[in-house]
C-alpha cells in the first residue's frame, strides 16, 4: 500500500462521515420504538420494517466502508453476500415455519 498523505487524510474524513451517519441512524433506531407517538404512527409492521431497513443500511455502511468491500475485489463481496443470502433465506423460511404453524 503506497502512502499518500493526501489520500489518507481524505480517507480519515470518509470514515468520520460514515461514523456520523451510522450514529445518527442508530439514534433514529432507538427513538422509533421508544417514543409512543412514533410507534403508533408507524404501527407495528411499520416499526419493524423501518428498523430492518435502517439496520440494513447500517450494515452496508460497516461492510462497504469499514471493511473496504467497496474498494476491494468483487470476489470478496461475493464471498460475503452468498452466505448472507443463504443464511437470511434459511432464517426467514424457518421463522415462518415456526411462527405460522404455531409449533
Amino acid at each position: 500500500m503506497t502512502a499518500h498523505g493526501a489520500e489518507h487524510r481524505h480517507g480519515y474524513a470518509k470514515y468520520l462521515v460514515v461514523a456520523v451517519v451510522l450514529t445518527v441512524i442508530t439514534i433514529i433506531e432507538i427513538v422509533i420504538p421508544s417514543r409512543p407517538e412514533i410507534r403508533d404512527a408507524l404501527t407495528r409492521p411499520g416499526v419493524v420494517a423501518s428498523l430492518l431497513v435502517l439496520s440494513f443500511v447500517k450494515g452496508i455502511g460497516v461492510v462497504a466502508y469499514y471493511m473496504h468491500l467497496r474498494e476491494d475485489s468483487r470476489l470478496f463481496t461475493a464471498l460475503f453476500m452468498f452466505p448472507f443470502i443463504i443464511a437470511s433465506s434459511i432464517v426467514l423460511i424457518l421463522f415462518f415455519i415456526f411462527t405460522l404453524s404455531g409449533a
Binding site: 502512502a3 489518507h8 460497516v62 461492510v63 469499514y66 475485489s73 470478496f76 434459511i90 432464517v91 424457518l94
Partner: protein
Amino acid sequence: MSSPSHVEHEHHSSTGLDNRKLAVWAFLGSETMFFGCFILVMLINKHNTLGGQGQEILDLALTSVTTFVLLTSSLSMVLSLAAFRNGSIVWGRIWLGLVILMGIVFLGGQVYEFSEFVHHGLTPSTNLFGASFFTLVGFHGAHVAIGVLWLTTVFVYSYRGRFKSGSDMWGIEFVGLYWHFVDLVWVAIFTLIYLV
C-alpha cells in the same frame, strides 16, 4: 499462515488477491451462517417467556450506550488501519489501543447486563427467552473477547517491528475485518432483539 513460496515474485496469485485475506473472508462467511442460526433461535423464542421474564427485562438505555461504544470502536479500528498504512505507527497504536479499551468497556457492559438479569430472576434455564438470549449474546460476547485478545496480540506485535512496510499491514487488516464483523453481528442483534 504460510504461503508456499517465500520469494515474493515467485508467488503467483491467480487473482492478485492475498491468500490470507481470502481465507478471512471465507471464514467470515461461515460465521455468518453460525450467527444466523443463533439469531433464528432467538427470533423463534422471543415470546417464549413462560416461567420468567421476556423482552421487558432488557435495558435499552444501557444497551444503547454499549452499542455506541462498539460502533465507535469500529471507527477507531478503521482509523488505526489507515494510520498504519500512512506510516503513522504511533497513531496506529493509539487508535488500536482505543479499540481494545472500548472492547473491554463493551464486555463490561455485557457482564453487568447478564448479572443484572440473573439477579432479577432470568437465567438460561428459566425459560426459552433466557436460554436463547444468553446463548446468542453470550457467544457474541465470546467473539468480542477473542477479538480483544487478538487486538492485544497485534498491539504488542506492533512494538516488535512488525507493521512497518506497506505489505505488512495484513495483521491489522485481518483483525480489523474480524472486529467489524463482530460489530455487524451486534447491529443485527441490537435491532432484532432490543428494538423490534
